[in-house]
């Protein structure tokens, strides 16, 4: 594989819902090992962008490439490509009827057709990375905390050995005291070289983890750059307001 091509490339992506424009020509690239964080007020299409990237939401137009393979091409086997895109949802979406361990192995055994025994080994290593002790492996989602659920959800995505991880506001549904453990895990993965695209409202986390910040407003990326640069010298009015509002909220 050519190492010069970006892991993810999005070109002129557009999406509207019943006449309302959500994404109005988004372009972005994520290179191997990079972590980019998408910021912006609520309801500007950040989540829609992530869902379009793995085609859970079909874009109206524009192109998306994963490691050079065009996802938006109707001839591409999207189910196969989705295995390479780890997706972490705001509300976890663990499979309620499966144990923690099975939540992680099911993609391996049923989708990748890996034998059970080997799948358990891969799952064990993924669960270790997200600090889920084996005492929780046989618990069901309803029996563990929100932070644990989200970490299991990350392990489920990780076990598929994705080329990129997409996080859609991974801590927004969590009680404040549980946010830290999840952000810590995401940060560790990112530092270890996991290519990541993260939508979040956790500004301090974004500053720590991101190689680049992307601000979305009115369906477009209005500002992007290294965190320290963007924060020191925001150009777009929305970005100025957003940063100011978050600082005032934090006090």
């Amino acid at each position: 594989m050519n190492s010069n091509i970006p892991v993810l490339k999005v070109e002129n992506l557009k999406k509207s819902y019943s006449g309302r424009i959500i994404l109005d020509g988004v372009n972005l690239e994520v290179d191997k090992g990079e972590t980019k964080v998408i910021l912006g007020p609520s309801g500007v299409g950040k989540s829609t962008l992530l869902r379009c990237i793995n085609m859970l939401t079909l874009p109206d137009s524009g192109k998306i490439w994963l490691e050079g393979v065009e996802l938006t091409n109707p001839n591409t086997d999207i189910n196969k490509m989705r295995q390479k895109i780890g997706f972490v949802f705001q509300d976890f979406n663990l499979f309620h009827h499966l144990t923690v361990l099975k939540n992680v192995t099911i993609g391996l055994t049923k989708v990748k057709k890996i034998p059970e025994e080997e799948a358990i080994k891969i799952a064990a290593s993924a669960l270790e990375k997200v600090h889920i002790p084996n005492t929780l492996w046989n618990k069901y989602p309803a029996q563990i905390s929100g932070g644990e659920k989200q970490r299991v959800a990350i392990a489920r995505a990780l076990a598929m050995k994705p080329s990129i991880m997409l996080y859609d506001e991974p801590t927004s549904a969590l009680d404040p005291q549980l946010v830290g453990e999840v952000l810590q895990v995401i940060k560790e993965l990112s530092t270890a070289g996991m290519t990541s695209l993260i939508v979040t409202h956790e500004l301090h986390f974004a500053l720590e983890v991101a190689n680049e910040l992307l601000f979305i407003y009115n369906g477009k990326i209005v500002e992007q750059g290294p965190p320290e640069e963007v924060f020191a010298n925001p150009k777009h009015d929305m970005v100025k307001k957003y940063i100011a509002s978050i600082y005032s909220r934090k006090g």
Binding site: N54, L56, R82, F87, F89, N93, V111, K139, Y140, A142
Partner: protein, 205 residues
Amino acid sequence: MVTLEILAISMPISVLLGIALGTARVYGNVIIRGIASAIVITFRGFPVLVTLLLIFFGLSDFGIYVPPFWTAVIGFILCSGSYQSEYVRGAIRSIDIGQSLAARSIGMTKLQEVLYIILPQAVRRAFLGITNELIYLVQYSSLAFVVGVPEMFAVTKTFNSLYFRPVETFTTLAVVYLVMISVLVVFFRGIERRLAIPGIELTTK
């Protein structure tokens, strides 16, 4: 005993049919959905009695002879399966869309999603409704007598016409049904407990 034989065959198959029809009506393409809907509408619309008579006499007009026993079995499967399918369909519809998104996000095909993620949860939710239909099936299995199957009701009727002791004979019959259904209820409770997902209360205590 004929009643038990009819039930032993029609109960499990009607459950499978119910799951298949309910699933087809949610996920099938236009044709599959159309066929499944037609089956459900027809056999929920026809009285069971009429269904049995139509299978028995109607098909024989086309030269197809279905023996009485199998007439009853087929009729009960179609009827009960159609009713059960609606519980399954409702249960599928009640599963949070996030389950579906998560399944697709790890690369599952639609079929894998339905088989491994949606149905295991939906069937659990539909379970109490399905058991209700199965108990009802025990009761209307007595209708098999109209096509000449010597099941419990038919035998009791013959017995009564020999001795003319209606109160005693039919009370006995009622008690036999009650016992059969009680056994089933205990059996279903056992399955319900096994199906329960730890941490989620499926039933009220």
